[in-house]
Amino acid sequence: MTEPTGINRLNRRDFVKAGLLFGTGATALAAGYAAVPDAFARAVYALKRAGGRNDSVLVMIQLAGGNDGLRTVIPMRNSVLHDLRPQLAAASIAKALPMNNDYGLNHNLPRIAKLWDRGKVAVVEGVGYPQPSLSHFESIRVWETGDPSRRQVNGWLGRTISRAYDSYGHPLTGCGCGVSGTPGTLKDVNSTVAVIESQQGFGFVDDELAATVGAVYHKTPGLYGALFDTAVATVHQTVAELKRLPQVKEGDPAPSYSKDAGNQLAAALKLGAQLILAGTGVRLLHVTLDGFDTHQTELAAHDSLMTYLDEAIGGFYDELSKHGRSSNVLIATWSEFGRRPEENSSTGTDHGTAAPLILIGDPVAKGVYGQTPDLKRLDEDGNLKYTVDFRSVYQEILDTHLGVDAKEILGSRFDRIPFLL
């Protein structure tokens, strides 16, 4: 990212002035359309520069539906697991890929197991939050906003962008890949975020429209003129950035990552890798693998999801590594909840609470962190009691990986889990 010259002349105090000037709304707008947003944007940028962000990249992978943590990172020596899951546990434990004496990875995660052997994987056990919600969307919202009290509207990474990055004119700072709606994690009223379902899908439906819009959204008068013009300029910039990427043929999304064309996570991460390698300035990526709500006949479904995850992450890491670009890229998984330790009568598991998170990449300090919740001391719903607040994980990512003061984003301090180098 190259900066326009002279922008550092403004300091935090200027920001306050510009912010308050901006805050006067119509009075400030009387000063003319161009001056106010420009001063504001410059001041925000200066503030953000002073905030000390770095060039690290974060990839959040959402395992949507509630991933079965006990079948992902398996506590192999825990006899209680057999009792709780007569149908599900035995095969998982027998086939697990051992990480150490106590834990094994799901047998469909061979590439992640190899990365573990190479010291590139950390696991945080027992991650959850107080008074857990068993509703998918409520718990998703808690994880997206980083706020178990459900008061916060904006996503934790969205707030990070608006606090610490200059997303105006750099639309790919935060990017949702492989989805049509803005991921809740990246949402914030004050940040610009790109959402790219596929490389082919982002852009104007036809050239005539693009030409019209390009001509019309220029020096738009009125209260919202600058906002509309900025939004449209961002779209044009994003479209141009995407044109720089190597073209992927339709129906052949990520051949080097996955044998299965249905592996949409592989396609999304392939796009993500291209954005990183092309130097588009992408910093915070969000991708999703759906289908983890395994209430019934869990084994087959969960096995193929684990394979998707393994292929996508393995392919993504290898591609970055091959180009010498993996050193500052951190991959982190999250899911709205784990699943109930006791299996149900449909050979599946119901909504649970705490679960392990997996962190992968060169910045990681290998190890199993946190504490596996006691399978004998479950809560009143028969679920695990969390041992690590999920915001401890966010905090470490923000402080150590992104170089952003986590307290500003999360509102308070949490126990430190040092899973990064």
Binding site: L20, F137, V193, P221, G411
Partner: protein
């Protein structure tokens, strides 16, 4: 969102940053109220001027533009004939016609041969049904107000279920221009809301344990008084007083096939007709509570009475109406005027909206194009402007809900959709523009665009749009320049 009391002078807090955006109309939940900055900077109507360089040009026919603005803000779109007719009626009479026109019930969404009586209604069925009614209902303003309450007393289809959301929509339409007190009572026992904010599960029978506070808190914070106008003790008291309300019991169950491939079946609850929640005394709080200064065994009616007695309630709803219908940054005296009209009329929504539409600020030059159309308003008005057949318009709109940022029956959270600036992001603006591109590709031949700038944009165009329109050589290019313009995004 609690900010620490002490912070370094030079560091802008999140609240200040938010405030800056609020002034531009982002309207983020409760952050808008009563901050020191707000009282210092909101500025009175008289002080606020818009510089000539930044302002839209003045419409040549000011009275006609005023009436067109009234229609843009109170309907989902209009035809040239409707604008003509409203112009003949004049502003005042048009306001009365809008406010006093009776509601039109939409078509029954539950098929007579459906043995489940709508128990399995899906989100998309609901969206299609309502969008079609928005495009066809003759009771334009009642429908627009139904939509307003949909975002205020909001619930979510994933959690509440399609049938209860359907009922809720019918309820808000019937009450759209009624009394706030009746709505506050109705929303508390509305089955979708009972599900959405967990009141259906709340249990206060054991005084040693606190019941679920979710609904009680939102009732005060988002639905009536506004943040910071009550104490935590009031929230707990309301939660106790309301525990016991739950969804109505089903009338029967019926077996349905849930998966055609595997033939899997399950039993679903069937309700024969729409009905409110019921009170289960077994989960009720056994003792007295003290709520907003009044002690006793308070029931729902008593609770609502206490809430209405506080002037904060009229003030809070008045501000929200002003932000949706007048200006993203309404003047304090306008809000006061509206709140007075609301309170003195016994919280009659007709009186509130009459005061809003007839307010000085509504017709003031600085309110011109001071509101952003919601995606639904943008798409319905564009579809009507070119006369796209209703079914095609509904198909297209449903497809663009997610990308434009507004999926009906699925608000982003309990605060509903943030208006105005909240609608503008690169991805959502791109989606709106692509909607126009697809809309215009779907009509052949297009109607003449000759009068469109006058009918839909009051002939008030920015220089860029004006140039593009002048250079256009085909109807499609003309319509593109008009409907994909920033002008058409505003109301």
């Amino acid at each position: 969102m609690v900010e620490p009391e002490t912070k370094k002078r030079w560091q802008p807090s999140r609240r200040e940053v938010l405030f800056a955006s609020l002034i531009l109309g982002a309207g983020v939940g409760g952050a808008s109220l009563a901050t020191k900055a707000a009282s210092t900077h909101a500025g009175s109507l008289a002080e606020r001027k818009v510089g000539t360089a930044a302002a839209w040009p003045t419409p040549a026919d000011a009275e006609r533009a005023r009436i067109a603005q009234l229609l843009r803000r109170t309907t989902f779109g209009f035809t040239p004939a409707e604008l003509e007719s409203a112009s003949k009626d004049g502003f005042e009479r048009t306001v009365e016609l809008l406010i006093e026109s009776p509601i039109t019930e939409p078509a029954d969404l539950i098929r007579p041969d459906d043995p489940t009586r709508g128990a399995q209604l899906g989100a998309e069925e609901l969206q299609r049904w309502w969008l079609e009614h928005m495009l066809t209902s003759k009771a334009r303003f009642a429908e627009r107000m139904t939509y307003f309450w949909h975002g205020h007393f909001t619930s979510e289809v994933d959690k509440s279920g399609g049938l209860f959301m359907y009922w809720q929509n019918l309820t808000w339409r019937r009450m759209a221009l009624g009394k706030l007190g009746e709505m506050l009572a109705a929303v508390t026992v509305d089955p979708a809301m009972l599900m959405y904010l967990d009141l259906a599960e709340s249990d206060a029978s054991d005084p040693a344990h606190l019941p679920n506070e979710n609904y009680a808190r939102e009732l005060l914070e988002l639905f009536s008084m506004g943040p910071g106008r009550y104490t935590e003790a009031d929230v707990k008291a309301a939660a106790r007083a309301l525990a016991g309300w739950t969804t109505p019991p089903a009338d029967s169950q019926v077996e349905v096939v849930t998966d055609k491939d595997s033939g899997a079946k399950e039993m679903v609850d069937v309700w024969n007709r729409q009905g409110p929640g019921v009170f289960e005394t077994a989960r009720a709080f056994p003792n007295e509570v003290k709520f907003l200064g009044r002690s006793g065994r308070l029931d729902l009616k008593a609770l609502v009475g206490q809430v209405l007695a506080r002037p904060d309630t009229a003030q809070f709803i008045a501000r929200k109406v002003a932000v949706h219908f007048i200006s993203s940054n309404p003047a304090p005296e306008t809000i006061r005027e509206l709140a007075d009209a609301y309170r003195t009329s016994g919280h009659d929504t007709k009186a509130l909206l009459r005061a809003a539409l007839r307010s000085r600020e509504f017709s003031a030059p600085q309110s011109y194009r001071s509101l952003v159309k919601s995606p639904v308003e943008f798409m319905t008005s564009a579809s009507m402007a070119v006369g796209l057949p209703v079914k095609d318009a509904v198909d297209l709109m449903v497809g663009y809900g997610d990308a434009t940022g507004e999926v009906l029956f699925s608000p982003p959270n309990v605060a509903g959709w943030p208006p105005n600036r909240g609608w503008i992001s690169p991805a959502t603006v791109l989606a709106r523009l692509n909607f126009v591109g697809q809309l215009l590709s779907g009509i052949d031949p297009l109607p003449s665009a000759a009068d469109a700038a006058s009918v839909h944009l009051d002939g008030v165009l920015g220089d860029s749009t004006k140039r593009r329109l002048a250079a256009a050589t085909t109807e499609k290019e003309r319509w593109l320049a008009l409907l994909a313009s920033p002008e058409f995004q505003l109301k």
